[in-house]
C-alpha cells in the first residue's frame, strides 16, 4: 500500500502481562476506540512506527506526483490537462496533510525529507513504474487510486487522531481521482482499435504492480499483528487485495478489457475471485531499489529539493528582516 511493510520494532506482539501500567492503560484506550492525541502518553514503539508509516505514506503522495506529472504537458486536450493538474495538485496536498500529521509526533519536516533522500525512508513500490502512454494516466487513477481508497477508508478509523483526520480529508478527494482515471479508460476503450489496444496495454502493465501494492501476505507478520493491535492497520493486506480484485474485475469487464491473469475466475461458492500467483520477487526487487524508475524518481526529488533551497532561504531571510523592522518601528 502507500505504506508497505512498516517495521514496528517489536519481535512479538506485546502481551498484557508484559506491559507496564502505562502501556496497559494506553492499550485499554485503544481497545475502547478512544483516539490517541499527540500530547497523550504513548509507547515509544507506537510513536516510531507511526512516524515510519505516516512519513512513508506522505512520501508516496509526493513521489506519486512524478509519474502523472510526466503527462501534464502532453495531455490530449486542454480539459484533460486542467483535470490532471488539479489531480496532481491534490496529491501534493495529501502529502502535506500527512507530513503535518507526522510532525505532531515530534519529527521535523526536514528530517523526514532527509530520510527519504538518504534512502532511510521508503515510498510505495507502485511509483517506481514508468508512465509510457496517456493510457497509463487513466490506469493509475483507476487502479492505483482505487487501491489507495481501499486502504485509506479503514484508516479513517485508526487510533491516532491526526492521522485519522488527515485520512478523512484525503478520502473526500480521492474518489475524484479514481473517476477521472476510469473516465480516461472509458474514452480509450470505446475509441479506435489503437486506443483500445493502448488501454489494454496499460492494464497489462499496471495490474500486477497494483495488486502487489497491498504488500505481501501478512498472516505471519509480527509487525502487521502489532500494528493491528494498535489499530494503525485496520485490515490485512490479503483482505484488502481480495476486496480490490473483487471490485475491479467487473470494471475491467465493462471496459471490454482483459485482466492479465489467466488463473482469474469467479468462485461462486466463496463469492469472490480466485486469482493467480503473485511474483513477489518483482515486488522485493522494487522495494530494494531495483524497479524500473527507482533511481530516477529519487534523483528528481533530490534535485527539486536542492534547486529550491535558495527560495526557502530567501523567503525566511525576508520574513526575518520584515519582523526585525516591525520590532524596531514599534
Amino acid at each position: 500500500m502507500y505504506a508497505q511493510m512498516v517495521d514496528t520494532g517489536v519481535k512479538a506482539v506485546a502481551a498484557a502481562a508484559d506491559m507496564s501500567p502505562e502501556e496497559q492503560a494506553f492499550q485499554a484506550r485503544i481497545d475502547a476506540d478512544i483516539k490517541i492525541e499527540p500530547k497523550d502518553w504513548m509507547p515509544e514503539a507506537y510513536r516510531k512506527t507511526l512516524v515510519r508509516q505516516i512519513s512513508q505514506h506522505a512520501h508516496s503522495e509526493i513521489v506519486g506526483m512524478l509519474p502523472e506529472g510526466n503527462w501534464i504537458t502532453r495531455a490530449p486536450s486542454l480539459s484533460r490537462k486542467a483535470i490532471l493538474m488539479a489531480k496532481v495538485q491534490d496529491e501534493g496536498g495529501h502529502g502535506l496533510y500527512l507530513y503535518a500529521a507526522a510532525e505532531t509526533l515530534g519529527v521535523s519536516r526536514d528530517r523526514m525529507i532527509e530520510d527519504l533522500h538518504a534512502g532511510r525512508a521508503k515510498y510505495s513500490s507502485i511509483f517506481n513504474y514508468p508512465t509510457l502512454t496517456w493510457a497509463d494516466v487513466g490506469a493509475i487513477g483507476w487502479l492505483v487510486d482505487g487501491a489507495a481508497i481501499m486502504n485509506q477508508i479503514p484508516l479513517c478509523r485508526c487510533s491516532f487522531g491526526p492521522y485519522a483526520r488527515a485520512m478523512v480529508r484525503v478520502c473526500k478527494e480521492e474518489s475524484f481521482h479514481q473517476r477521472q482515471g476510469y473516465a480516461i479508460m472509458i474514452a480509450l476503450a470505446q475509441g479506435t482499435a489503437e486506443q483500445k489496444a493502448m488501454a489494454q496495454d496499460a492494464l497489462n502493465r499496471w495490474w500486477w504492480p497494483s495488486v502487489m501494492m497491498f504488500g505481501p501476505p501478512d498472516a505471519e507478520s509480527v509487525h502487521s499483528a502489532q500494528s493491528a493491535a494498535w489499530k494503525i492497520k485496520i485490515m490485512s493486506n490479503d483482505e484488502l487485495r481480495q476486496r480490490f480484485i473483487d471490485q475491479t474485475v467487473p470494471q475491467a469487464d465493462y471496459l471490454g478489457l482483459t485482466v492479465p491473469d489467466p488463473d482469474l475466475k469467479w468462485n461462486a461458492l466463496q463469492q469472490r475471485y480466485d486469482f493467480g500467483a503473485i511474483d513477489w520477487n518483482e515486488f522485493y526487487e522494487v522495494i530494494k531499489g531495483n524497479g524500473p524508475c527507482n533511481r530516477e524518481r529519487l534523483a528528481t526529488r533530490v534535485k527539486a529539493w536542492e534547486d529550491g533551497a535558495w527560495v526557502r532561504e530567501a523567503a525566511m531571510a525576508h520574513a526575518e528582516k520584515q519582523a526585525a523592522r516591525a520590532a524596531k518601528a514599534a
Binding site: 502518553w41 495538485q89 496536498g93 502535506l96 503535518a100 510532525e103 519536516r109 483526520r165
Partner: protein, 94 residues
C-alpha cells in the same frame, strides 16, 4: 541545512455561518505566505470563505494530565442540562 519555515495552524470558516474550524497545519515563512499556502492546501474545493493562520508556537494548550481537574467537575452538575427537570406532559412550550 537551512532553517525550517515555522509551523502555522490553519482555521477555516465555511460558507454557512459557522465558526472558524481548525483544519490542519502548514509551514510558511510569514503570515501572508501562510494565508496563501492555506488557500492552496485547505480550500481547493470551496471549503471556506475566511482563513485564520496562527503560529503554532503561539498556542497554549491544556495538558492531557489536567483532563480530570479541568473537565471532571462538570460531570456531577447534570442540572445544567434542561433534561434534568422533568416537566408535566400537559404543559407545553417549555
Amino acid at each position: 541545512m537551512t532553517k525550517e519555515w515555522p509551523l502555522w495552524e490553519i482555521f477555516i470558516r465555511s460558507q454557512h455561518g459557522l465558526a472558524h474550524k481548525h483544519v490542519g497545519s502548514l509551514h510558511a515563512a510569514d503570515a501572508p505566505m501562510a494565508i496563501k499556502n492555506a488557500r492552496d492546501v485547505y480550500t481547493r474545493r470551496n471549503e471556506g470563505v475566511s482563513i485564520w493562520a496562527v503560529r503554532s508556537a503561539e498556542i497554549t494548550a491544556s495538558a492531557p494530565g489536567d483532563r480530570e481537574a479541568l473537565f471532571e467537575p462538570a460531570n456531577d452538575k447534570v442540572y445544567r442540562h434542561p433534561t434534568f427537570f422533568p416537566m408535566p406532559d400537559e404543559v407545553k412550550h417549555l
